[in-house]
C-alpha cells in the first residue's frame, strides 16, 4: 500500500499545473460555469467556447497529453495514471478539455476496432481534429438501452441508418457520432446492437439543439434519415455493440472532472472565511463548519475511489463494479455539494451568472440546477445500485 504519488508523478503534476495556468485564457474562471458531476455545464460542449477549446486542445496534443493512456504502439505512454493526473489538474482548473474522443472512443477503437479504423481515426483524435459524441440514448431508450430503435440496414458496402438519438452532448460541436444501432431487428437488443461511426456531415443527419435548464445548449436531438455509412465504420463485431459499449464504460467513469469537487470545496472554504453572516464570519458558524467538513469527507472518499480505479486500470484490471460505485458516489456528491453550497451562500446562491453580486460568477446557483443531471445521466443512480446489488453482491435479478 502506498497512497502517494511518486516523485516523478508529482513533478509531472506540477508541469501540468503550470501549463494549465499558463495556457488558459485570462479570466477564464469568470467566463464559464461548470459544476462537478453535472452534465449540463461542460464548457467544451458550448459553441461560444469552441475556439478556446480547440486551441487549448491543440496545445495539449502538442504535449502528447491527449493520448497518455494509449498503448505506445499508438503514440501513447500506456499510463492511465498520467492521463488521470492530467484530467485531475485540468478539471481542478475547469479547463475546456476532456471529451469522449480521447477518453472513450480511442481506447475502445484500440481494443476492438479494425486496423483500418484505428489508422483513420486515432491520429485525428490525438490532435483534436476528430471530436465525437455518444449516440446511445433515444427517446424511449433511456435507462432501458435495450429498447433501442435506430436501425442500420445493409445495402451493398454500406449501412443505411434511420432513427433518432437524444441527449446528444456536443453533437453540434463535434465531427462524428459514436453510435449504437440495431443491425438485426429480429434478435433481442443485446444481440442485435452494433457500434458504428457516423460522420455528422453525412447526408440525412439533422442536429437540433436542446437547451438545458442551466440555459446552456449542450444537448441535441439528432435525426438519421437514410444516412449512408460505409460498413468499414462498424466498430468491433456486428451485433456486439452492447458488449463494446459496456467495455467503454470503465473508461467513461474516469472522464469525470475529478479535480473539480475539491476546487469547489477550496472555494467555499475561502468564501466562508471571507464573508460575514449575522455579524460573524461564516467560517465560525457551526452549521457551515460541519457542512464543509462533511463535504471534505465525502470528497476524500470520492478521490479514494477515483485513484483506486486509476490504479486498477494501470495494473490492467477492469474496475467494473468499482466504476458503478464511482459513478454513483460522484453524481450524488454533486447534488450534496450543490445543496451545501446554496445553503452556505444563502440568498446569494440564487444569483445568476449575469449578476454582478453573484459569488463565483453564479456557478453555485447554476450548479444547483446542473447537479440534478448527474444522478439521471449516463446510467441513473438507481441503475448503478441495481448493478452493484446484482453483479456485485450476486442478488437475484427482479
Amino acid at each position: 500500500m502506498n497512497l502517494d504519488f511518486t516523485r516523478e508523478e508529482l513533478d509531472f503534476r506540477q508541469e501540468v499545473e503550470e501549463f494549465t495556468r499558463r495556457e488558459l485564457p485570462p479570466n477564464w474562471d469568470n467566463q464559464i460555469v461548470f459544476w462537478p458531476g453535472g452534465y449540463g455545464t461542460i464548457p467544451i460542449f458550448e459553441t461560444e467556447f469552441q475556439e478556446v477549446a480547440k486551441e487549448f486542445s491543440l496545445k495539449l496534443s502538442g504535449k502528447g497529453w491527449a493520448r497518455l493512456a494509449w498503448p505506445e504502439k499508438y503514440g501513447g505512454e500506456a499510463s492511465v495514471m498520467k492521463a488521470a493526473i492530467v484530467g485531475n489538474v485540468l478539471s481542478y482548473n475547469r479547463a475546456p478539455a476532456g471529451g469522449v474522443a480521447s477518453s472513450i472512443v480511442a481506447p475502445s477503437l484500440i481494443l476492438v476496432a479494425s486496423e483500418e479504423l484505428k489508422k483513420e481515426f486515432l491520429p485525428k483524435i490525438a490532435d483534436g481534429r476528430a471530436g465525437f459524441w455518444l449516440a446511445y440514448s433515444e427517446p424511449n431508450a433511456g435507462s432501458d438501452l435495450a429498447a433501442l430503435k435506430t436501425t442500420a440496414v445493409e445495402d451493398g458496402d454500406d449501412y443505411i441508418i434511420n432513427g433518432q438519438k437524444i441527449w446528444s452532448s456536443g453533437a453540434h460541436v463535434t465531427e462524428y457520432a459514436w453510435a449504437l444501432v440495431r443491425t438485426d431487428p429480429d434478435a433481442p437488443a443485446h444481440k442485435s446492437a452494433t457500434l458504428i461511426i457516423i460522420p455528422n456531415n453525412a447526408s440525412g443527419v439533422t442536429i437540433k439543439p436542446i437547451v438545458n435548464i442551466c440555459d446552456i445548449h449542450s444537448f441535441n436531438e439528432v435525426f438519421f434519415d437514410d444516412v449512408r455509412v460505409p460498413k468499414k465504420y462498424v466498430v468491433g463485431e456486428v451485433n456486439q455493440g452492447f458488449y463494446n459499449v459496456m467495455l467503454a464504460l470503465q473508461f467513461e467513469r474516469l472522464t469525470i472532472g475529478s479535480g473539480s469537487f475539491r476546487r469547489v470545496l477550496d472555494e467555499l472554504i475561502q468564501y466562508a472565511r471571507e464573508n460575514v453572516r449575522n455579524g460573524r464570519p461564516l467560517s465560525e458558524n457551526n452549521q457551515v463548519r460541519r457542512a464543509l467538513v462533511d463535504m471534505a469527507i465525502e470528497i476524500e472518499i470520492f478521490e479514494n475511489f477515483y485513484w483506486q480505479s486509476v490504479c486498477m486500470l494501470e495494473k490492467g484490471k477492469v474496475p467494473e463494479i468499482e466504476a458503478s460505485a464511482l459513478k454513483l458516489v460522484f453524481t450524488e456528491l454533486s447534488v450534496k455539494l450543490a445543496n451545501t453550497a446554496v445553503d452556505i451562500l444563502g440568498p446569494y446562491g440564487l444569483l445568476d451568472k449575469d449578476s454582478t453580486r453573484a459569488p463565483f460568477g453564479g456557478r453555485v446557483g447554476i450548479g444547483y440546477l446542473d447537479s440534478i443531471s448527474g444522478p439521471i445521466g449516463a446510467g441513473t443512480s438507481e441503475i448503478q445500485k441495481s448493478i452493484l446489488a446484482t453483479r456485485g453482491l450476486g442478488l437475484p435479478r427482479q
Binding site: G142, I213, D343, G346, G349, L351, R357
Partner: protein, 377 residues
C-alpha cells in the same frame, strides 16, 4: 378540533384553482420570468377584482377581513400555479406592516389602494450580510433638521421595480443592542436618490438591489415607533416566511401530480416506471412530505389567525417546507430523468421556485434559533 377547511375556504380554494388554471397558464409564467419587471398588470387587476389583495385587510379599509388560514389556502394555489405576482410583497411585507405599525392616516391612505390593486408595496430589509437578523441591518437614516436622510444599500428586495412604495428598514440610533434602533420608513419608489437595479436570479423571481443615495424623508414617512420597529419586523419576517412556505406546498403538490402522472405513463424495461419499487418509494416519501408540510403551514396559519403565539410554528413551517420543497422538486427531476433537464419542460420552473423560497425571509439560522428559544433551549 377540525383539520378540514370550512365551506368558505373550500370555495376560495376551488375558485382560486379554477381562476389560476385559466388566467395563469405556464406560458404566462415563462414570459414573466424572462422579462423585467416580470409583472402582468392585467393579471394583477384580475386578482384584485377577486379581492385577494384585501383578504387579510379589515373591512374598514375595504378588505375582506379574513385570516391567515384563507391566505395560506390561497397561497398554496398560487404556488401550485407558480403565479408570478408581487402578492406576498404587497399583502404581507406591505399591508401587514402598515396594519401592525401604521397610524390611521397611513392605513387609510394606502390600504384601500392596495385592496383595489392600485398600489404595490415591498420591504427593503436584507443587506450585504444576506440575513435578516438585527445585527445584519445597518443602513443608516440620519436626522437632519426635520428630515431623515437614508444612505446605503439594500439587497434581495423582492418586486422593487414594480413597487410603488418600499418599506425600508433603517437604523436610526440607540445602539444598545442590535434589536434596538431600527425604524421603518415608507419610501416612494420614485423618490430622488432611490436607484433600483435587478439582481438576476436563477430562480427567476424578481429581486433587486436598491441604492439609497441621500434619500430625504419626512417624519410622516415613518411607520411605527422610531427606533422600535424590530418586533414588527420580526413578526413580518415570520408571516412572510410562512407565506413562502404555503406557496411551496403548492409547488410540491404540483410536482407530485405531474410526476405521478408521468410515472404511470413512461415505460422502461417493459413496464411503467411507476411500478418500480424505487420510484414508488420516492413518490410515497414526496407525498408524506407534502402532507407534513401542509400540516405545519396550516397550523402556523391557524395560530396567526387566532392570535396565538406563532413564531415557533411559523419557523417550523419555514424550515421544514424549505427543505422538503427542494427535496421534492429534486426527486421529481430524478424520476422524470433527462426530459425534465430541458428548458422546454415545466419541471425546472418548480425546482427554481422551491429553491428561491428557502433562504429568504428568515434563513434557517434565524428560524432555528427562534424555535430553540421557543423550546426553552
Amino acid at each position: 378540533m377540525d383539520f378540514e377547511l370550512n365551506e368558505d375556504q373550500r370555495i376560495l380554494q376551488k375558485s382560486a384553482r379554477d381562476f389560476l388554471k385559466k388566467e395563469c397558464p405556464k406560458d404566462l409564467v415563462r414570459n414573466l420570468a424572462d422579462t423585467d419587471p416580470g409583472h402582468s398588470t392585467e393579471l394583477w387587476q384580475k386578482i384584485a377584482a377577486l379581492g385577494w389583495m384585501g383578504l387579510l385587510v379589515p373591512e374598514n379599509y375595504d378588505g375582506i377581513g379574513w385570516s391567515f388560514v384563507e391566505q395560506a389556502v390561497l397561497l398554496e394555489e398560487m404556488g401550485y400555479a407558480l403565479c408570478p405576482a408581487p402578492f406576498i410583497s404587497t399583502t404581507i411585507l406591505g399591508a401587514q406592516t402598515l396594519l401592525m405599525s401604521g397610524n390611521e392616516d397611513q392605513k387609510r391612505g394606502i390600504l384601500p389602494n392596495i385592496v383595489a390593486g392600485d398600489l404595490i408595496l415591498t420591504m427593503a430589509l436584507t443587506e450585504s450580510d444576506g440575513g435578516c437578523e438585527p445585527s445584519a441591518l445597518n443602513l443608516m437614516a440620519v436626522r437632519e433638521g426635520d428630515k431623515w436622510v437614508l444612505n446605503g444599500i439594500k439587497l434581495f428586495v423582492p418586486d422593487a421595480l414594480t413597487a410603488d412604495y418600499i418599506l425600508c428598514v433603517a437604523r436610526t440610533g440607540d445602539n444598545s443592542s442590535p434589536e434596538k434602533g431600527l425604524t421603518i420608513f415608507l419610501v416612494k419608489t420614485k423618490t430622488k436618490g432611490v436607484n433600483i437595479a435587478p439582481l438576476k436570479t436563477i430562480s427567476k423571481d424578481k429581486q433587486y438591489e436598491i441604492n439609497f443615495n441621500n434619500v430625504c424623508l419626512k417624519p410622516e414617512n415613518i411607520i411605527g415607533p422610531v427606533a422600535g420597529a424590530w418586533p414588527a419586523i420580526n413578526a413580518i419576517i415570520n408571516m412572510a416566511g410562512l407565506a413562502r412556505a404555503a406557496e411551496t406546498v403548492g409547488v410540491m403538490r404540483a410536482v407530485l401530480e405531474m410526476t405521478v402522472a408521468y410515472a404511470k405513463e413512461r415505460v422502461q424495461f417493459g413496464r411503467p416506471i411507476g411500478s418500480f419499487q424505487a420510484i414508488q418509494h420516492y413518490l410515497a416519501d414526496m407525498w408524506v412530505d407534502i402532507l407534513g408540510a401542509r400540516s405545519l403551514v396550516m397550523k402556523a396559519a391557524w395560530k396567526l389567525a387566532t392570535g396565538r403565539p406563532s413564531d415557533k410554528a411559523t419557523g417550523m413551517a419555514k424550515i421544514m417546507v424549505g427543505k422538503a420543497g427542494r427535496k421534492t422538486t429534486t426527486t421529481g427531476h430524478r424520476i422524470f430523468g433527462a426530459i425534465s433537464f430541458t428548458m422546454e419542460h415545466d419541471l425546472h420552473l418548480y425546482h427554481r421556485r422551491s429553491l428561491a423560497n428557502d433562504p429568504t425571509l428568515g434563513n434557517s439560522d434565524f428560524h432555528y434559533e427562534q424555535i430553540a428559544a421557543g423550546l426553552e433551549l
